[in-house]
């Protein structure tokens, strides 16, 4: 229920229109989600040309297979799922796929659950050497270097603003799994930024 606006009947009507092949309905969902899908693909692949191709192909493919869509998730999630799957295929094809790396927090604590070393302060780093703009650049750079399983959850959650249900449906994972992945992704990003 969380985050779902009351879109049920308009969504059903929209789906009917898409299935009936109304071009205005297709145009509408593209205007609504197109640039989000494209920006997601660009940041997944790091390559605008390939991203455009993937989004194009995904949308055309969705057009041809819309009859099989059972409406069990939102149209938006379904679109992101299609683009995500194609992006991962492309990344695998280029043999650049990196699965979840080691858990950044794994070695921070002793058996008693206490910090082994002090958590490095970044007051110096952030407040003195790095102003917000540089910190932003650094976060962005490091985000592009994260394993894809980390990067995709951060992009969908923080950047594209999908809610929990939408992300879970798009990535076909459970909310518990998503929670763990988001935490690990942020921990990896923090470690990369702090250099610790």
């Amino acid at each position: 229920m969380q985050g779902d606006e009351v879109h049920h009947s308009p969504e059903t009507a929209q789906l009917d229109a898409l299935k009936a092949g109304h071009t205005s309905a297709w145009k509408e969902i593209m205007v609504l989600h197109g640039s989000g899908l494209l920006s997601f693909a660009i940041r997944m692949l790091g390559d605008r040309g390939a991203a455009e191709e993937i989004v194009q192909d995904s949308l055309v493919n969705i057009y041809h297979t819309i009859g099989r869509f059972d409406g069990r998730c939102s149209i938006k999630s379904w679109l992101y799922r299609a683009v995500h799957n194609s992006a991962i295929d492309e990344i695998r094809r280029r043999k650049r796929y990196v699965d979840v790396g080691i858990d950044a927090e794994e070695n921070y604590f002793n058996e008693a659950g206490r910090w082994i070393n002090d958590c490095p302060g970044w007051d110096g780093l952030a407040a003195k050497r790095l102003d917000d703009k540089r910190l932003l650049t650094l976060v962005r750079e490091q985000m592009d270097h994260l394993p894809h399983t980390h990067r995709e959850v951060l992009l969908l959650k923080e950047f594209e603003g999908l809610d929990t249900t939408e992300i879970c449906d798009a990535l076909e994972i459970s909310p518990g799994n998503l929670r763990i992945r988001i935490h690990r992704a942020r921990a990896a990003l923090r470690a990369a930024v702090v250099g610790a």
Partner: protein
């Protein structure tokens, strides 16, 4: 108040930031954070990372989708004929 282990507190940070914890967990979490410098630092860094990971700036104009949309609509309209 430091009876939560640091490893447990750190493991809860994302849920706290995302508002997914119970009031009791949140209170125990913040109680620990107040007393523990390391967890407090880590929490602050996590919040900043989250904030910056999702920050949309003026350099982040949404990509121009017109070209892709033109291609797809062309495909769709041709199939309709």
């Amino acid at each position: 108040m430091v009876y939560l282990k640091c490893s447990v507190v750190v493991g809860k940070i994302s849920e706290v930031i995302d508002g997914q914890t119970s009031l009791m967990t949140r209170m125990r979490f913040h109680g620990h954070i107040m007393m523990c410098k390391n967890c407090r630092r880590y929490f602050e860094q996590f919040k900043r990372v989250k904030e910056f990971a999702g920050k949309v700036t003026s350099d982040d104009l949404p990509p121009d989708f017109a070209h892709v949309m033109g291609f797809v609509m062309n495909e769709i309209e041709n199939k309709d004929v």
